[in-house]
């Protein structure tokens, strides 16, 4: 309990300290210390119980702990990278920018701890508001446009999710003698008695609402703009952290519907959305001119894979949870490497960049590694997770879904590969007159190395503790038993 409260308070107080700090090194130091402390606190939660107290608004459950750990590690590593990134960017490290990192971390922590649907919603809304200023780092018309679309579409999605949450409240209220509570475990326990009509309409609203936050197609239109204009470290946080926090909501919706007997209904919605996301992302990635937008579409694709996995259920749920972890790390690798490339080459256009192997050897290598990891190459963790999901799809029956899944993934591989390999090979572009030659510092490379190590670890040998946590997390109605 104490660890939980501390995990919430530490980022908030850290944000306060950032405003007090006067110099850039001091602020960055506060950021690093806070995120590191958060990782330690999250680690300590691994030792505690993983079943929340009945009826409590906050609590640690297996899924929340899994996602929180991933988010925490990602934030810490991105903080290290920020040291290098803000050093090279003319905007520097404004206090609002750094503080909002911690605010969004606090909001995501709250989301992972929430056991009450309403509280979870508040946390998700808070993440939207806290991460909006992060997008606006490079002031300018393009950033502004991206921020506006992010806020508007995000808020609309959140409004839908709120309505869905209220509908869930009605599902219990409409049936007499059923305990009327929006606490997740309580609802799950009496799921078979809840009103089916309300559950179905609630599921639709919640899936569309939180799906918008995740970036599922067709609600994904804000993603390319937002990730394309945000500073790449921020994009890493959003695609690795925020999407997982929203995915938690989707997971809980699916669990509740399965427990209430509406498994077929929610399955069709989720499978359709998942396949649509993967397909649209694949189509948009081919011939993409902007490598940051390409990464955004990659994020959409992986969200589609996650949704598909949850929709099919069974073994695929285990694969989906593992994939969520993998995806966070992969996106970290890709976006942080892209951040280094952006600062060195000063352009987001693919055609202006070649020969990165010579110019920025480390970042180029990790970009390629990230590409292989994101498209499911062994020995990376993504291979295991995507293959597990494929097994789950085939076990679920039918041929069309696995065939489409594989086909879309192949298209993604080709599209992304063409772009990435074109960027890293060939002769390096001449540096513009008077510009500093590109360098790679320790701080900008170390986080990527750590993330790559984690991705490899998950592919080669999943640690026992993590495996246990994953099994616990997928042990839900409709999941892998």
């Amino acid at each position: 309990m104490l660890s939980m409260v501390l995990a919430l308070l530490v980022p908030l107080s850290g944000a306060g300290f950032i405003f007090l700090a006067r110099t850039r090194p001091a602020r960055l130091l506060v950021l690093l210390l806070t995120t590191f402390a958060h990782v330690v606190l999250t680690g300590s939660l691994w030792l505690g119980p993983r079943v929340p107290a009945a009826g409590a608004l906050l609590g640690v459950d297996a899924q929340g702990l899994l996602f929180l750990s991933v988010i925490s590690v990602l934030y810490c590593l991105v903080a290290v990278h920020l040291v290098a990134y803000t050093g090279r960017d003319p905007r520097g490290a404004p206090p609002v920018f750094l503080a909002c990192h911690l605010f969004s971390l606090a909001a995501m922590t709250l989301a992972c701890f929430s056991q009450h649907w309403g509280l979870y919603w508040v946390a998700m809304e808070a993440t939207t508001l806290a991460s909006a200023p992060l997008l606006f780092y490079h002031h300018g018309p393009r950033s502004l446009e991206a921020t506006w679309k992010y806020i508007l579409i995000g808020s609309v999605g959140i409004a839908l999710a709120l309505m869905g949450t209220l509908f869930l409240g009605m599902a219990a209220a409409a049936v007499p003698h059923v305990e009327n509570s929006l606490v997740f475990s309580t609802m799950l326990a009496s799921a078979d008695k809840l009103s089916v009509d309300w559950i179905k309409i609630a599921a639709v609203f919640l899936i569309v609402g939180y799906g918008t936050k995740m970036g599922l197609a067709p609600m994904h239109t804000w993603k390319p703009d937002a990730y394309g204009e945000a500073p790449p470290p921020v994009a890493a946080l959003l695609s690795g952290g925020l999407t997982n926090a929203a995915f938690l909501g989707l997971l809980r919706v699916a669990t509740l519907c399965n427990a209430a007997g509406e498994a077929a209904f929610v399955r069709s919605i989720l499978v359709a959305l998942g396949l649509a996301s993967i397909g649209i992302a694949a189509a948009s990635m081919v011939g993409q001119a902007n490598y940051r937008r390409m990464l955004a579409y990659s994020s959409v694709e992986h969200m589609g894979i996650l949704t598909l996995a949850v929709g099919v259920g069974g073994l695929a749920t285990f694969g989906g949870l593992l994939h969520a972890v993998n995806n966070a790390f992969n996106k970290g690798i890709l976006f942080l490497a892209a951040g280094n490339i952006l600062q060195a080459c000063r352009t987001s256009e693919v055609k202006g960049i070649t020969g990165l192997f010579r110019q920025l050897p480390f970042s180029a290598v990790f970009l390629v590694i990230g590409f292989f990891a994101a498209t499911g190459f062994p020995p990376f963790g993504t291979f295991v997770s995507e293959f597990t999901i494929l097994r789950g799809l085939i076990a679920g029956g039918g041929v069309v879904v696995p065939a489409l899944y594989l086909g879309f993934l192949a298209v993604v591989f080709i599209g992304m590969g063409a772009i990435v390999l074109g960027m890293v090979q060939g002769a390096p572009v001449a540096t513009p007159e008077g510009a500093k030659p590109a360098r790679e510092t320790f701080a900008s490379v170390l986080p990527i190395v750590v993330l790559t190590a984690l991705a490899l670890l998950l592919g080669l040998h999943i640690p026992e503790a993590l495996g246990d946590l994953l099994k616990q997390a997928s042990d839900v109605p409709g999941g892998f038993r």
């Binding site: 508001l129 009605m170 009103s195 204009e229």
Partner: protein, 212 residues
């Protein structure tokens, strides 16, 4: 009492429809203020008047009928040159689609069972209609400010649903929701100011540089 409740609910729907048909920015914001004012009285009419209800009444009127409209009017004064706007899909089409959405809301509500003892059978249709009409407002208007008002109308629909039908939201969460609305509008307002400073207008239809 029942007549009063029903009238407030129908008035809410009609105000939302009216917002679809008016071209003037100021009128839209004033309609929203009126709608929020009417809705603030609903909890006191539906449940036993108590501390909870009074708090919501005061909070909602203060934030949604006074603070937010004041903020929006300031935005209009500072940012807007043209005070009226044509919607993307035309007024007639907006009204027609609005009528269809209202009909859809009523049709869907007929299939959803309500708990025993609900004061009026119009609560659910009214909240769903307001919700859907707010969405229509967001989609059919190109001016950023009107999109914010549309979002606020959506929140009004949610508020209507929440205070009237859902019993077990802790007060904390309800206040959290209200606060979230306020902060969201605040943040949106800041972005609108920036948009105006950057682009000299508030027309989101012109925000089209970012595309594949």
């Amino acid at each position: 009492m029942r007549f009063l409740t029903d009238s407030i609910l129908i008035g809410t729907i009609l105000i939302s429809v009216f917002m679809l048909s008016t071209a003037r920015l100021g009128m839209t914001v004033r309609s929203f203020a009126l709608q929020s004012f009417l809705l603030a009285f609903l909890p006191s009419l539906l449940h036993e008047p108590g501390f909870h209800q009074i708090l919501i009444l005061v909070g909602a009127i203060l934030i949604k009928s006074y603070l937010i409209p004041r903020f929006l009017f300031r935005a209009i004064r500072e940012v807007s040159i043209r005070r009226d706007v044509q919607p993307v899909i035309g007024f007639g089409t907006s009204l027609l689609i609005g009528a269809l959405l209202v009909a859809l809301a009523f049709a869907v509500s007929a299939n959803l069972p309500l708990p025993v003892g609900v004061a009026s059978s119009l609560l659910l249709p009214a909240s769903l209609s307001t919700f859907l009409l707010g969405f229509l407002l967001i989609v059919s208007r190109a001016k950023a400010l009107l999109q914010v008002v549309g979002y606020l109308v959506v929140e009004n629909g949610i508020f209507l649903f929440g205070v009237s039908l859902v019993q077990q939201m802790p007060l904390l969460v309800e206040m959290g929701i209200l606060l979230d609305v306020f902060v969201a509008v605040f943040v949106m307002g800041i972005v609108i100011f920036r948009i105006n400073r950057e682009f000299d207008h508030m027309d989101t239809a012109n925000l089209t540089t970012l595309k594949d």
